[in-house]
Symmetry: C2
Subunit: 679 residues, 2 copies
């Protein structure tokens, strides 16, 4: 054993004997330790930095002397001089093992770095992206053994990085020759290889050692909004985020309107495809500018979306998704060139990945939510509602997961609401109504102050108070119900019935004035009877979908509820429960996952094993089709009411006089409206 030494790596604790003279990087690889290297041990990239320990390590049973590693060599000295090496650090590819040693791998030298999610529930994402940088040295051409530059590059990558069978597009063949010569046969390449173990693809090439980074786009392509995160593929960090309205809205606000547009207009589908391609390209360009990175360093894209958006993005007429049996053109995950889905302005060889669709109405977005929230690993029964223009609903445990989609419509996103608007500065996002005085107070996006607090006016002067966003309308409706401004059927009471002058006539019904800015030339922001009806329809659809899955599983209760969606982070669980959006559950078990679909897209962008995982899990998820399930309609109708009321509603209702509707707590549903009309 005298010609070997014991090496212990921390923090992994991996240990073993290696031959004296083995470089630390080689030892790490032999022992399966996670130590990074881009240049393949040539002392260029410095990614393999380690910190050897000195002294007694009783825990490990070794004493490390100063001679445990080889002396600094010329490469390390040059590197330190040029770029500086932190005290105590060594280059793992240069330092060789001379005796028993404990070696710490600092976080930045670990390939599979752990990044912490920003959302409430922290979760680790393993970094294992499909496209990575590799530095390599290519044999020079030899007239007497005439092989192509590509073949010699492929040979080098097979030798240095165990990546055999490299392929390259003609565009890259053109670039290859210059890069190899400019770098004096040393190049850095970006190579894509997926989780299925197919042949690696050359994505880009740079002469010598490339200092830049690779980026990916995680795109949540919603019916109403398109949100994208630009992520650093080295550590998963979000370099920039942006969102735009989906330009397809002009062809129809909800999915079925767009399917109809495609059915009724020749070329309609391709018109919508072109529109969304343009918006995505614009978004990508904006993100590159915002993060100040060269756009050709964006080499990967992951897109999650519902099946209709999925088909329109791929240029497939979505007409089959508009009628039973709602057949998808393709249900599997899609791997393709990003330019095939119209994404230009990024690296021309960038690859795109779309998560699998679960069913004709349950898309890649739902798969992404599943990837993010992992109901298939849950020990208790979890209900996950991804609230958008369509709600994707998952219910289950590690034993069984069910999924469905429910057409909530765009009301939850502030669309089809009289004073509705996107979540942007100036939008009312939080609402409280005093049950006694019926006076509201609210907060707008861009300020942390409530409207009755000092400085509110100054804080909102720039944005103004412009409308109500999705979370704002939900709170407003719930607070109106709590304050007794609505009856269980959802009817707004008159000023007389409710005792506040904020209830004003609005045609044949009433509206509640949330904010009157007309004196300053601003808008009159009200919640109308139409708004209440839109929210009722939306929340009934969501609730009915959840109930349907609960029926399928034979349960009346769930252990916890996760609210997700572009604005999921902003819904107040209390108000969601007041509205009857979700089944009853103790409030502390209702959490928000933020934009879980977007998080799922980020996970798939950063980790190809996650792609493999969700592709498998998706086949295990049982699909429930709401559109043909009679019980969905029953639940939908039954869920229309807003039963909760903390205000002494029954009393209030006694004082109403016709033609103002009666506010009794009797049968809910449309009974209130019917009675009103009879009157």
């Amino acid at each position: 054993m005298s010609d070997t030494a014991l090496v212990i790596f921390t923090p992994s604790g991996k240990r073993g004997h290696v031959a004296i003279g083995t470089p630390v990087l080689t030892a790490a690889r032999q022992l399966g330790v996670d130590l990074d290297s881009v240049c393949g041990g040539r002392g260029i990239c410095s990614k393999c930095q380690v910190s050897p320990g000195l002294g007694d390590f009783p825990k490990h049973g070794v004493t490390v002397t100063e001679t445990a590693l080889s002396d600094w060599n010329a490469v390390e000295a040059r590197y330190d001089e040029k770029r500086g090496l932190k005290p105590g650090r060594r280059l793992g590819c240069q330092a060789t093992i001379q005796g028993d040693v404990v070696i710490d791998v600092p976080p930045e030298s670990q390939v599979h770095k752990q990044v912490v999610r920003k959302a409430a529930a922290t979760r680790d994402i393993t970094m294992d992206p499909a496209t990575r940088l590799y530095y390599t040295q290519v044999r020079e051409p030899d007239m007497h053994e005439p092989t192509g530059d590509l073949q010699r590059l492929a040979e080098a990558l097979a030798r240095d990085w165990d990546l055999p069978g490299l392929t390259a597009s003609p565009r890259l063949l053109a670039k290859l020759q210059t890069a190899l010569r400019k770098g004096d046969w040393n190049v850095t390449v970006a190579v894509w290889q997926d989780h299925r173990g197919g042949t690696p693809k050359l994505i880009d090439i740079w002469p010598g050692y490339f200092e830049g980074r690779l980026y990916g786009l995680a795109i949540d392509l919603g019916s109403t909004t398109i949100a994208a995160h630009l992520c650093d593929l080295r550590n998963g960090q979000v370099a920039a985020s942006a969102g735009v309205m989906n330009p397809q809205i002009r062809f129809g606000e909800d999915l079925m309107s767009r399917v109809s547009f495609a059915m009724m207009n020749a070329g309609g589908a391709s018109e919508m495809t072109t529109a969304v391609h343009g918006a995505m390209t614009q978004l990508a360009t904006e993100l590159a500018v915002e993060a100040d990175i060269p756009s050709d360093q964006i080499v990967e894209v992951v897109v999650v979306c519902n099946p209709v958006m999925h088909h329109l993005l791929l240029g497939i007429d979505p007409v089959e998704l508009g009628q039973a049996p709602f057949a998808l053109a393709t249900s599997d995950a899609v791997n393709t060139d990003a330019r095939e889905i119209g994404l230009t302005g990024i690296n021309p060889d960038a690859q795109a990945y779309m998560l699998p669709c679960i069913a004709g109405h349950v898309g890649a977005d739902c798969a992404a939510v599943a990837l993010s929230e992992e109901p298939y690993k849950s020990e208790d029964l979890v209900l996950i509602c991804d609230v958008g223009t369509n709600a994707e609903i998952l219910l289950g445990t590690s034993e069984k997961v069910l999924a469905c989609s429910s057409p909530t419509g765009p009301a939850f996103e502030g669309a089809q609401i009289s004073s509705g608007q996107r979540a942007a500065p100036g939008a009312i996002e939080r609402v409280e109504i005093d049950p006694a005085t019926k006076e509201p107070r609210f907060r707008v996006i861009g300020s942390d102050l409530w409207s009755d607090e000092d400085g509110f006016e100054a804080a909102t002067a720039a944005s103004g108070i412009t409308g109500i966003c999705g979370s704002g309308i939900i709170e407003a409706v719930a607070e109106m119900r709590i304050a007794g401004l609505l009856d269980p059927s959802g009817l707004i009471g008159s000023a007389e019935a409710t005792g506040t002058s904020r209830a004003i006539p609005d045609g044949r019904t009433f509206a509640y004035v949330l904010h009157d800015g007309t004196a300053d030339g601003g808008p009159l922001i009200t919640v109308t009877q139409g708004d209440i009806r839109a929210i009722q329809l939306a929340k009934s659809a969501l609730y009915a979908g959840a109930r349907l899955l609960m029926d399928e599983l034979g349960t009346d209760t769930v252990d916890r509820v996760v609210l997700a969606g572009a604005f999921g982070a902003h819904i107040s669980p209390k108000h969601a429960m007041v509205l009857g959006m979700i089944p009853d559950c103790t409030l502390e078990h209702v959490t928000s996952a933020g934009n879980a679909a977007g998080t799922g897209a980020r996970i798939a962008l950063c980790d190809i094993s996650a792609r493999a995982r969700i592709e498998t899990e998706v086949t295990r998820i049982e699909k429930v089709e709401t559109a043909i399930e009679p019980r969905f309609q029953e639940h939908f109708v039954a869920a229309n009411a807003i039963p909760h009321a903390t205000a002494p509603f029954a009393e209030l209702s006694k004082v109403v006089t016709l033609p103002t509707p009666s506010f009794n707590s009797g049968p809910s549903g449309d009974s209130g409206r019917r009675r009103r009309r009879r009157s």
Copy 2:
């Protein structure tokens, strides 16, 4: 054995026992007999027709009775009624085996049909194209088990045709859904699968049983001309052929001029790429029109070309090919979408295959010649010269094959010749000169008559006599030498020296009048001293290349010579030998292979196993680089003379007087010209 029967298939002679009741098609598959089927045994395609024998077959030791096969069934009766079945024919998928039987598989029912080459040396091409039609029945979508249409199609192809893992482009996903429903879940698909056994690719889809055929393009992309054959992928037959000038000629007539153009002009390479893409697309369109087929039924393309054209076609700057070590960007065969090499106007998902390059100066065209002429299977030592703007030369036997390329220039193609023109109607292609009278006679393309035969004028009235093509100039020069009009150094004698008024002054040298059409407003067609020099340079380059390979192999003789090239079919071996184009060889061992590169392209188009074969053989071929080999220059200089003379040249030379050059048979090379200049 009473529940089995003996089945003997002819012409293969394959035999075996199968269970009574086995369909003939199934029996054929069990016994490895080549029996076609597109519809997979559904009685639709009729490709599996067989002819059962009746009576005694002493050779096979069986007697076949009328009950050996099942009676005609309803499917056969319907087929016969609708489309007609030849007498004695049965559908192999319907007829079942009831007793011992001899079954003949007619040629048209054999999958691997044999096609006979049109060229002199007949040779069989096995039909096994990469893209084929398959008929299949796809499961209908099921809401309760929601898989995509693509996944169910893939499942059907895996089940019926052993083609697992089908992939499809987004464009085809869009087409898929309509086709499946229109065909009531029965479709015909064109599927590509290469010889490497990768995943099959969907190329196109049609509802129901598709009656059409698939076609491929075999393109010989030369420096001067682009020739293409449109081939039926079912039987390899050429449906149409066409050629156009390579539009890159305007950037430089020879390859090195084009490389220079790319070096000297920013964007020069891409300008040339665009030009050749356009010409190929135009050619494809013309061929589809000529053959009267829908252009989207062209689903495959094979391109052969020299390395410079190869790189320019792929959009790669060819500058590296212009300087040692002549490094190729890629040497392996290229598989790509046809649109990646600029071919549009055919099926948008058509696949392209480019044969491997052998070396920086020895391209895919040479590989195609090797595939066509198979020197690696030859028992005697064969020299193959593919004559074009560059000559590709192969020398060897089954034990060893050498290859090189030689820059002959465009003279052999009629370019840079004073009266030169492309091989087209009106071009002089055959020449004879009477050694006594020095009078010529000739034939022009478009007529079988010699110019001194009756009816020649009428026969050529339409085309006129417009110039000399490549084969014509070779014959003219050789005949001039035989008739004593040239001395061994290649100098044209004066009228006095040669005794014919057809030798006319032309500047400081002389020219020989082949045809004077000026009286009728036609051209004066002469062979000038410059023409002789151009042919001398070309033939010296060709000869020097061949000699260099012979040196490498340590031989002074070859057993046989094969002349190939776009005009290879038209070179007269006798005249080639007189000129000293090729090493001496008995005349009957000099054959012409026609456009062997084009034939190689056709073979690769029709048979994927040929692709595998040439990819392997190419790695075994030894490359010799003429550009850096001093002996090439030596051979080149030494080969400049035209030694052969049947006329009493020495005598003639004696009578010449200055300033007419002396016609001695002294040192050849440029000596004649130098002497002339001194004079």
